[in-house]
Assembly symmetry: D2
Homo-oligomer: 293 residues x 4
């Protein structure tokens, strides 16, 4: 990273075999431990009833954490922008009911304090990956940060964004791949999920990395395969958008095309555990340095 | 596909639950059956000794078929262009020794007959995906065809390329995703492996689809994870470049950066079987139509 | 734009021939009038001497406005971040000396007031194109806004960003194309300047649009041709980075590769006027509706 | 180019000031001379009447050469594939009537001889840029070659394709930029015309380079601006698709969206001459080496 001192481990420096991975703890949930973490929940917090019942459904399906947007970054100013602080209060209730720690997005430097009072982990969205004042601000507070990759960001730019956070003193950072923009794949998806970057991140820094198969595909019917592929590629977890059992897809206010149902989430959680076990062959080879012959 | 009659099943027409998948048989090897097919071998056929010993090594590692280029499409006219017919004879010997069926690239319409005399399956490379005379020519002969995706091809263009082959009467086609060109990921890979397309292909046509993690990453240390991710994403198999146990990487004439070693291939073959098993959760949901609620 | 009420004219609505173009005035400078506007100056304000002497040089070369960054969005937190308010004071002095109105970037919602006290026009950089709180904030103050396109932004996203500004009441917006990220052109440039978008913007909205050939190429030797091409493509102006006559390229703290010299700027200004005149053939056809037959 | 001997001048070798540019002559038409060459005609040769009347119209509008496809590379096998040899005969007649030299595409190695008997210049299309047997074949015959860039080709790959032609002995090569695939610009165009590459080519090799604003935009209303921008960017000419005065757009069999009318072509030809003159400021600076300070 430009030859300057870096808080995080610089790209490519240590030998793979020597690597220890940093574990980022959010309550009882551990990112970077062998067991994959599954974060699930609605795209946006719409109502108390929708959020709390969905929180119970994803808990039953095996999820470890709850996601949900109270402040939503929307392409158009005329789209639903989220419930704001009311949404944060609903997320807090859902946590109290289910015990699931909550991650939610902060997109305005002036709201970092507010969001921090309600959340267990702060999400920096793709559009904010190079919002440098915001990165500095979340770097100065103690909650862990979920840092999504920008939609055409290089690995260098992404890791430098993590450096902005870390340089403020907060190294509790989890990276999240969410698809890059290729454009010519629009017949079947909204973004191209870049799973090559998962291994590349693991070789570059010791931060945990998770995958967002919901934005990484933009289509509910592609999410299960993308989830399994993400874990197979070496990710430490997933963040998945879910639509409640009784919710009509047409009524969802935000990204209705990409939410899966709780029963499919349960299948994904089970399958993901087996996929992670299948990776042991590869992890063992890596630990012994065998892969680099 | 433009509203005209199509030999293959058109994009999006039948309901997912109703789908049967076409099995393409190459000798005893079945593409599109539950068990994933692993094709392995050198990038280019360089010598008899290199090819035959490597064929034995990949057989021991659990590969089902042998790959190897006799006619190589190289960016520069001054790079090694392959051994030509001599390379085909070496591949034939390797098959006789190991029993592995052989897939090799044909890139000139005038050589379809020649290559067909030696190969069990004809590969159409990425650069030839829209070489329409060549597609027509391989569509008029009986050997199965491995059709790689072009490096910035849309799904529609790729399936239309398959239609060129099918319209000649040959529907024994296996598709192969091998990475698309995004460019800004060059810090860590050569192409972006697009695994979203695997599910999209399975929904569009009944042809088998495999993944090329070697060109799809361009870096040996990314190949194992990409292989597992490919199968997790729903692919019917893999095509992997391998460097012989005793070969020095620096001596390889073509794509030296991306070949894995036979011992790593053996690990991948084992892991891939377990990953495929983990997919049963998802396949079962698909069969029941549950995923589309 | 999503069927909702829009302050700006929606994409594609009126017939081309009927179009009037909005003129955005910054002091005596008019964006959207027949004469192209040339904004020039350093990438970053580094010292008083550098900025003021360069301001005189670009004035002599024929520039209409002065650019220069006081707050710089830098990929790494360890790179030079700009002089901040001291930089704004220097820009103010340069304006007093030369009479050139000043455009400078604001990247933190908390600094909109501060920057507004010194600048004549506020720039929203590429990385901030979807910083929605910042867009709203500059939409609530009276200075005109230069809105750069994000590096992989669709036209829809860009125009929606303009809507965020306009919905606050400020419709004095000038759009700026500055290159999109393709990646595989890195041999010769840093971004691909997308000049097709200039006509597309002119057909979609009545806002002026200018081109940034400096970031749009990233290479000084490509800037003159890109400048002429931008005006030939229909742009209302250019924003060009310049390095002072006596400055050594190696001493420049930011984007040293892309600044042109004042004598080249003078040539560009002269050529640009002639190129604009050559467009009259096309403008006349458009006015008569002849192009759409 | 890989350290090996090269027939063409290698990337970046000679100092810009010292450069002479190669002139490629096609009858009386000179590519690489100061005056820009305009090639115009139908996308595909459909009928004798359509082609001959259009040839007269583009001659009247000021075009220097006639284009038109007899063998068409079409995405789907069920689309119109061109008239074949009958189309070549029609092009020959159009040339006899108008005196315009003819360029037409060859896409099958087995048809190089046939096409050569009728054409004055052979076009290698984008999809064939890495059809290496075809490149070698056109390199062994004497007609000049128009070599289009592949839709995601790097400059290196494109120049290596030219090397394939040159290594056969034929260095009468004209390069043609026709847009690259970005995908996310599909709201307003079919490809992103990459005009940065024009200067990059001029610095890398001494071959002439022209621009295809028809495929480079895919929309007739974007073609005039793209034409002027191409010449402003330093191109030696244009290749433009035209629809006859009396032809209904809906009746055109191929790429109906992108053809301009002969009266617009006449305006473009006039404007292009003035734009070229405006470049003298820049050419003079280049000749003196001033641009690289």
């Amino acid at each position: 990273m430009g030859g300057t001192a870096s808080t995080l481990r610089a790209l490519g420096s240590p030998a793979p075999a020597a690597r220890t991975r940093r574990v980022v703890q959010v309550g009882a949930v551990a990112f970077g431990a062998p067991r994959p973490v599954v974060i699930a929940g609605p795209c946006a917090v719409e109502t108390r009833e929708q959020t709390c019942s969905l929180a119970r459904e994803v808990l039953a399906a095996g999820a470890d954490m709850l996601r949900g947007g109270a402040f939503k970054p929307r392409t158009s100013p005329y789209d639903f922008q989220g419930l704001g602080e009311e949404g944060l209060r609903i997320l807090q209730e859902a946590r109290e009911e289910t015990g699931l720690p909550v991650v939610t997005e902060v997109l305005d430097v002036r709201q970092v304090d507010l969001v921090s009072r309600y959340a267990d982990m702060l999400q920096i969205g793709s559009r904010s990956m190079q919002n440098f004042p915001l990165l500095r601000e979340v770097g100065r507070q103690p909650l862990p940060v979920l840092l999504k990759r920008g939609m055409a960001a290089t690995l260098h730019e992404w890791l430098c964004a993590a450096e902005y956070v870390a340089s403020g003193g907060n190294t509790r950072i989890v990276l999240c791949e969410r698809g890059v923009r290729t454009g010519w794949t629009a017949e079947y998806d909204r973004n191209t999920l870049d799973l090559n970057v998962v291994e590349a991140v693991r070789r570059a820094v010791d931060l945990p990395i998770i995958v967002d198969p919901s934005h990484g595909t933009g289509r509910a019917h592609l999410v299960p395969s993308a989830s399994l592929a993400g874990i197979a590629a070496g990710a430490d977890g997933l963040i998945i958008e879910v639509i409640g059992l009784k919710t009509r897809r047409a009524d969802v206010l935000c990204d209705a095309e990409q939410g899966i149902r709780p029963d499919m989430l349960a299948r994904v959680v089970r399958a993901v555990g087996q996929v992670r076990a299948a990776r042991e062959e590869i992890e063992a080879a890596r630990a012994s340095g065998a892969e680099d012959a």
